[in-house]
């Protein structure tokens, strides 16, 4: 599910800032590979739990990168559409686009190496949890 690397401290910090700014007391995000729970407590430090239950994925199956939460989908490069540059090779750490939640842009990582074949969401549209964003053909 997750196209954002939720184990990345920078991502968690950005998300925590966004939640605090929005007056939201916490958030729980689940994806097939794990779970992130942020509790923003007034007067205390935020509590953050990340647990991973990642399962190996068959290399032959195309992988759909889905939105891990609701937000506005932004493609990776404003000057040049991601869709115009497909197909192309990506590494697991590559940022494919962003999810805008309020003033915060959350990077959407590929999560696995392969050929990015399709962009499945229109840029600047509101996407919900689990909405498909990209398709990657994994490379072994």
């Amino acid at each position: 599910m997750s196209a954002i690397d939720f184990s990345d401290p920078t991502t968690i910090a950005l998300l925590t800032d966004a939640l605090t700014a929005a007056g939201v007391s916490g958030l729980e995000i689940s994806w097939p590979g794990g779970q992130l729970r942020i509790v923003v407590a007034t007067g205390e430090e935020a509590r953050i739990n990340v647990s991973s239950t990642a399962q190996p994925v068959s290399a032959a199956q195309p992988v759909v990168v889905k939105a891990p939460m609701a937000g506005h989908f932004c493609s990776g490069n404003s000057s040049r559409s991601v869709a115009d540059r497909l197909p192309r090779s990506v590494s697991a750490a590559d940022t494919l686009g962003f999810l805008r939640v309020g003033p915060i842009l959350l990077p959407l990582c590929a999560g696995r190496a392969g050929i990015l074949t399709r962009q499945l969401a229109e840029p600047d549209t509101l996407v919900g949890f689990g909405d498909p964003l990209f398709e990657i053909e994994p490379q072994s």
Partner: protein
């Protein structure tokens, strides 16, 4: 744009924080008022038809209700992302969650329901009872204070009230957290067990004791209040047909209760609303036995059974609820409320008609009745997949006719004309119930349905 009672701008978009038939019902009311709707849904409800007819629809989480429809933060983020100005909680889920109502208003949105303080006050059964006594609403014999820890004092109180008594959790409701004590020797164990249950289920060990009524009916009074001090009651309902404390069939009005008996109770409910500063719709639930009413609790939300009152009063309760949240004064006075005819509602559940086990799956064929005097509130269609994660209610069959007998006959026709293929439903059970002679005579108590089922199962 004019402001509402609390200084907010009037809203033009409502986020519906619920699912199923009530999401469809709220959407219809919003559309009639010219408001836009945002539907939020879980992954299991991704194909729900009301998502396609909403102005905006957003998946907020996985199928589990705890991570979607009960996820306060996901709902607030969805409201912010979609620009919704109000949240309608429907019934169940977060509809009676004071913390959610408070969070919604603190986020600058309108909560289409009462204030957090009203929800909190009525959620605590002891404080609710105290407020009702102050307003002259008749209550079940028993003190309006929590039970002491002192066992001798508890025994004295039970003797004063008279056995049988019932021990209830102050934070309980819906049939949970209560225990009937038929005689003195069973009292202390019942108190200890209920206290522990209350501590674990409701987070508070607070208990209270009341007289246990043996053959009561369940009668409700629907109220509607604005933020300008106006309040009306919209007649009464009988919801005695219950199985395991879950209502199965509801009707309006409750038969066999004279206006001079129910009138003062309705007026006392309105007075209670004024005294506690209640806003929106609410339901006072009573036990009724031997010509007397006894308050049990107030539901601070829209009820599943609201359509029977809509059918008899001619008032669209959901629209009225939304208008109150906009800050509008009620456009009717008590004298304008004229209930006419008789209405029944059957809850159509996706469940086995004999075992009542839930039945999820794809609806392969669907026929719904369309005759005059019949209303169907539902979100299902042929091809719809009933998910296994939520309540089994898939439709409400509602009928209205000049008399109770005619309304029963109409419901028999409506049930005969309803077909849901591919999954099991309780329709065969409802058809049999509407052929029962004691039910047809009316005034059956809250235990009748369980006894009727037991007799049917007997060899």
């Amino acid at each position: 744009m004019p402001e509402t009672f609390d200084g907010r701008a009037r809203f033009d978009t409502v986020l519906i924080a619920n699912r199923g038939e009530i999401a469809t019902r709220i959407q219809k009311a919003c559309r009639a008022l010219g408001l836009k709707t945002v539907v939020v849904y879980s992954e299991a409800d991704r194909q729900a038809p009301y998502g396609r007819t909403a102005d905006s629809a957003l998946c907020i989480g996985p199928s589990s209700a705890a991570k979607s429809y009960l996820n306060k933060d996901a709902l607030l983020l969805a409201a912010r992302l979609t620009g919704a100005g109000a949240i309608h909680p429907g019934y169940g889920f977060l509809s009676e969650n004071a913390a959610f109502a408070d969070a919604v208003e603190k986020a600058g949105l309108a909560f289409i329901g009462p204030s957090a303080s009203s929800i909190e006050a009525m959620g605590d059964k002891i404080s609710a009872k105290r407020a009702m006594i102050a307003a002259g609403v008749p209550c079940v014999p028993g003190p309006d204070t929590a039970l002491a820890e002192d066992t001798a004092a508890i025994e004295r109180l039970a003797l004063e009230i008279g056995y049988p008594v019932i021990i209830k959790a102050a934070g309980g409701g819906g049939g949970r957290g209560m225990r009937v004590v038929p005689e003195a020797r069973l009292l202390q164990e019942a108190v200890a067990l209920t206290r522990e249950e209350a501590r674990q289920a409701f987070g508070s060990p607070s208990l209270y004791m009341e007289k246990f009524l043996q053959h009561p009916r369940h009668i409700e009074i629907q109220v509607l209040c604005d933020t300008h001090g106006n309040a009306v009651w919209l007649g009464h309902r009988d919801c005695s047909m219950q199985r395991r404390h879950q209502k199965v069939v509801e009707e309006a009005p409750a038969s066999g209760i004279a206006p001079e008996v129910i009138g003062p109770v309705g007026r006392a409910c309105v007075e209670a609303c004024r005294q506690i500063g209640y806003r929106g719709v609410g339901t006072f639930e009573f036990l009724y036995e031997d010509g007397a009413f006894y308050f049990i609790e107030m539901n601070t939300r829209l009820q599943v059974e609201h359509p029977v009152t809509e059918m008899t009063s001619g008032i669209d309760i959901v629209q009225a609820q939304i208008k109150v949240a906009q800050g509008d004064p009620l456009d009717l006075a008590q004298a304008d409320v004229n209930c006419a005819g008789h209405a029944f509602e059957c809850r159509i559940n996706a469940e086995d008609p004999d075992t009542f086990l839930p039945s999820a799956g794809v609806i392969t064929g669907l026929v719904l009745p369309e005759e005059p005097g019949i209303r169907v509130d539902t979100h299902i269609h042929a091809g719809y997949k009933v998910p296994p994660y939520y309540d089994s209610l898939i439709a409400k069959l509602i009928v209205h006719a000049p008399t109770r007998a005619e309304a029963m006959a109409r419901m028999r026709e409506a049930l005969a004309g309803t077909r849901v293929d591919g999954i099991s439903t309780n329709i065969p059970f409802l058809r049999a119930l509407f052929e029962d002679s004691a039910f047809a005579r009316g005034e059956t108590d809250i235990h009748y349905l369980e006894q009727w089922l037991k007799q049917r199962r007997a060899p």
